[in-house]
Symmetry: C2
Subunit: 255 residues, 2 copies
DNA sequence: CCAATTATGACAGTAATACTATCGTATAAC
DNA sequence: GTTATACGATAGTATTACTGTCATAATTGG
C-alpha cells in the first residue's frame, strides 16, 4: 500500500511537472502575439523565424539608441551576428522595416483597446479607455517576449511620422501599407460617433487624438514650451486628462 | 505761356516716371522680406546674397519635387549652376537647410497673424484670424519675390516634422533652433488665454492647432480615411471651420 | 585706383550608405 | 535521400555626405 501510494506520488509529481511545463509553454506561445500585417511590408514574415524575431527585437533597441537616420542594416546585422543580405531577405529597406514596426504597434494598441472595451456598455467609458490605452499602451501587461512595447512606443513617438511622410505615400497607401493605422483610427472614430452620433468630424478627432498624444509627449520631453504637459511621473495621467477634457468639450459631454 | 506749360508737362512726366520707378524699387524691397533667424542655422545668411536666394528658392522647388530624402546638395548645385562646396558654405547640411526653411515659414505665418490682428479688439476674432492665417498663409499676398510661399507651405506640411524629429533635438533646442516655432505658438497661446483666461492648456491647444492643421491636410490628400476633411477646393475652408469649431468648444465660446 | 579681403568655382578625395550578385553550406521538407 | 530554402561569407557598385586645396572673380577699404 505504501509502495503503491509512493508510486502514485511519483506519478503525481511527474504529472504536476508536466502540467507546469505545458503551462509555461502555453504562456510562451501567448507571449508571442503575432499580427497579420500587410504582405507588402516584408518579403518574409520576421514573426515566423528566430532570426526575424531577433531583427525586430534589436531594430527597436538600435533605432531607439541611435535614431532612425543613423540606423543601418549593417549595424543591425553586426548586433545580431548576421549579415546585411539576410536582413534584406526580410525587408526591402529600412523604411519598410519602420512601417512594419509602427504597424505592429498600432495593431497592438487596437488589440488592447478592443479587449478592454469588450464588456463595456457606456460609450463615454469606452472612449476613456481608448484614450488611456493610446497614451499608456505598455504599462499593463507585456504582450510579447521579444518586443519591448515600452521602447516601441518611444520609437513611434520619435519616428512614427516618418513612416508615411514620404514621397511614395500614395503608392504605399494603395497597396494597403497603412491599414493598421486606418483600422485603429476607424475603431476610435466609431466610438466617438457612439458618444455623439451627430458629430461631423469623427475621423479627424480620432486621428488627432493619436497624433496629438504622441506629439505632446515629444514636445513635453524635448521642446517643453510647445506643450502644457510637463514630462515626469505625472505626464501620462496629465495627458490622458487633457485628451479626455478636449474630447469631452468637443463632443458636448460633461465629465 | 504755352511754352512754359509744355515745359511743365515735360517735368511733370519726368516726375511721374521717377515716382513710378521709385515705387517699383520700394515694391522690390518690400517684396523681399527678410527674417532674423537663429545664427546656428547657417554659416552665411542666404537672404543676403544672390547665390543664397537662389539656394532657398530652388531648394524649396526641388524638395517639393523629389522629397527631402532624395534631395541632395549636389542636385541643388546642378540646378542653380553652382557647386556642392558653395552650398556647404551656407548650410552645414541638408537638415539645417530644412530647419532654416521651416523657421522662415513660421516667421512668415507669425508676421501675417501679427499684422492682421493689429487693430482687432475682440479676442475670439483674433483667434479666428490666426486660424485662417495658419491654414492659408499664402493666399492673400505673396511676401517674397524668390520664395514661393505656396510651395513652402506644402513643404512644411510634407516634411516639417522632420525638422525636429531627430536625435539631436535637445542640442538644437538648446541653441535656439526652434525659436521661430516657439514664438508663433506663444503668440497664439496668448490669444487663447485672452479668449479664456482660466484655460489650462493654452500651449498644447496652440501647438496642436498648427500640427493638426498641417497633418489633416496631409491626411486629406494622401490617406483620406484618417480625416473628416476632403481634399479639393473647399478643403481649406472646411479645415478652418473644423479648427474653429474645436477651439470654440474647448474654450467654451459659442460661435 | 590700387591693395586686401572675401566669395565662388573647379577639381580631387574619402568614408559610409544602400544596395545587388554569387556561391557554398546547413537545415528542413517532402 | 533528394530537393528546396534559408543563411552566411564575400565581393562589388553607385551614390551620399561630406572635407581640402587652389585659382580666380568680385567686393570693399583706404
Amino acid at each position: 500500500m505504501t509502495v503503491i501510494l509512493s508510486y502514485n506520488i511519483v506519478w503525481l509529481t511527474k504529472f504536476i511537472v508536466f502540467v507546469t511545463l505545458m503551462t509555461f509553454l502555453l504562456y510562451y506561445c501567448i507571449m508571442e502575439i503575432r499580427f497579420d500585417l500587410c504582405k507588402s511590408l516584408c518579403h518574409r514574415d520576421p514573426q515566423e523565424t528566430e532570426l526575424g524575431k531577433k531583427m525586430i527585437e534589436n531594430s527597436i533597441v538600435l533605432i531607439d539608441e541611435i535614431g532612425f537616420e543613423a540606423f543601418t542594416f549593417k549595424k543591425l546585422a553586426q548586433r545580431i551576428g548576421s549579415t546585411e543580405k539576410s536582413i534584406y531577405r526580410y525587408f526591402e529597406n529600412k523604411h519598410l522595416l519602420l512601417v512594419f514596426l509602427t504597424s505592429w504597434y498600432w495593431e497592438w494598441v487596437r488589440y488592447l483597446i478592443e479587449i478592454n472595451i469588450k464588456n463595456i456598455e457606456s460609450a463615454p467609458k469606452k472612449l476613456k479607455i481608448a484614450i488611456a490605452n493610446l497614451v499608456e499602451a505598455t504599462a499593463e501587461n507585456p504582450g510579447n517576449k521579444y518586443i519591448n512595447e515600452n521602447l516601441l512606443h518611444r520609437l513611434v513617438i520619435q519616428e512614427g511620422g516618418k513612416a508615411y511622410h514620404i514621397t511614395a505615400v500614395d503608392d504605399e497607401n494603395k497597396v494597403g501599407m497603412y491599414l493598421s493605422y486606418k483600422k485603429l483610427v476607424k475603431l476610435v472614430a466609431d466610438i466617438i460617433l457612439e458618444v455623439n452620433p451627430k458629430f461631423k468630424y469623427s475621423s479627424s478627432l480620432s486621428s488627432n487624438l493619436f497624433e496629438m498624444a504622441n506629439n505632446q509627449v515629444f514636445f513635453a520631453e524635448h521642446i517643453p514650451q510647445l506643450s502644457s504637459i510637463a514630462s515626469g511621473k505625472k505626464m501620462n495621467q496629465d495627458l490622458i486628462d487633457m485628451l479626455w477634457h478636449f474630447s469631452g468639450k468637443i463632443l458636448n459631454q460633461e465629465v
